[in-house]
């Protein structure tokens, strides 16, 4: 049962443009959402998070938007850089301490110079 879905397996963007990665979830009880970035041969690294009491969280070039009514979140990267090329995983959990996170399948972002 995929409670968290990333429907785009890949995304290609030109350097300097905006990258938008999307994630949908089915469990309305989820109240904490995270994005992880994964390079080949490395474990995922935490990127940015948002709790359900907010609809936007920004950290430098990365902004996460949460639309609770649509059960949808997105990660915006502006401007995109070649070093951003990686697999991005969306995750959601029921508790703020995310002891049981559910991950999407990931979206492979390629930023072309």
């Amino acid at each position: 049962d995929q409670q968290v879905k990333q429907n785009s397996p890949s995304l290609s963007v030109q350097e300097g443009r905006i990258s938008i990665l999307n994630c949908d979830y089915t469990n309305s009880m989820f109240d904490y959402f995270l994005w992880y970035k994964k390079y080949p041969a490395e474990g995922p690294t935490f990127l940015i998070s948002i709790s359900s009491i907010k609809d936007k969280n920004e950290d430098g070039r990365f902004t996460v938007f949460l639309n609770k009514s649509a059960k949808h979140l997105s990660l915006h990267i502006v401007p995109s850089q070649p070093g951003d090329s990686a697999v991005y995983f969306c995750a959601a959990s029921l508790f703020y301490n995310n002891n049981d996170m559910r991950f999407g399948a990931g979206t492979r972002l390629t930023v072309k110079p």
């Binding site: 995929q2 904490y32 041969a41 995922p44 995983f89 301490n97 995310n98 002891n99 996170m101």
Partner: protein, 110 residues
């Protein structure tokens, strides 16, 4: 500060065999999580250990088990290996909210 470490890096086994994967958390972290990443799927939650106790497990059969030691390191055991167990197994540790992942163990079952 050393990150989460996992061993071995790669492993090849045959069907029916048993395997043990190891994870050392970041110093001071008491929680360890295990995930399976099979081809084309997201990270599937396997097990969560905290303070030496199993706190939660995902939707996996009982042949997936593990334990956490007093030094908070952890082992994941998989018995009676099946072909579909071929995957990347990731361990993560946390103190509070953010999980920090190790590089993973790539298991191939032939």
């Amino acid at each position: 500060e050393a990150g989460v470490t996992q061993s071995p890096t790669h492993l090849i086994k045959t069907r029916g065999q048993q395997v043990t994967l190891r994870c050392s958390p970041i110093s001071g972290h008491t929680s360890v999580y295990w995930y399976q990443q099979a081809l084309g799927l997201g990270l599937q939650f396997l097990l969560w250990y905290d303070e030496g106790e199993e706190r939660n497990r995902g939707n996996f059969p009982p042949r997936f088990s593990g334990r956490q030691f007093p030094n908070y390191s952890s082992e994941l055991n998989v018995n009676a290996l099946e072909l579909e167990d071929s995957a990347l197994y990731l361990c993560a540790s946390s103190l509070k909210d953010t999980q920090y992942f190790g590089p993973g163990t790539r298991l191939t079952v032939l």
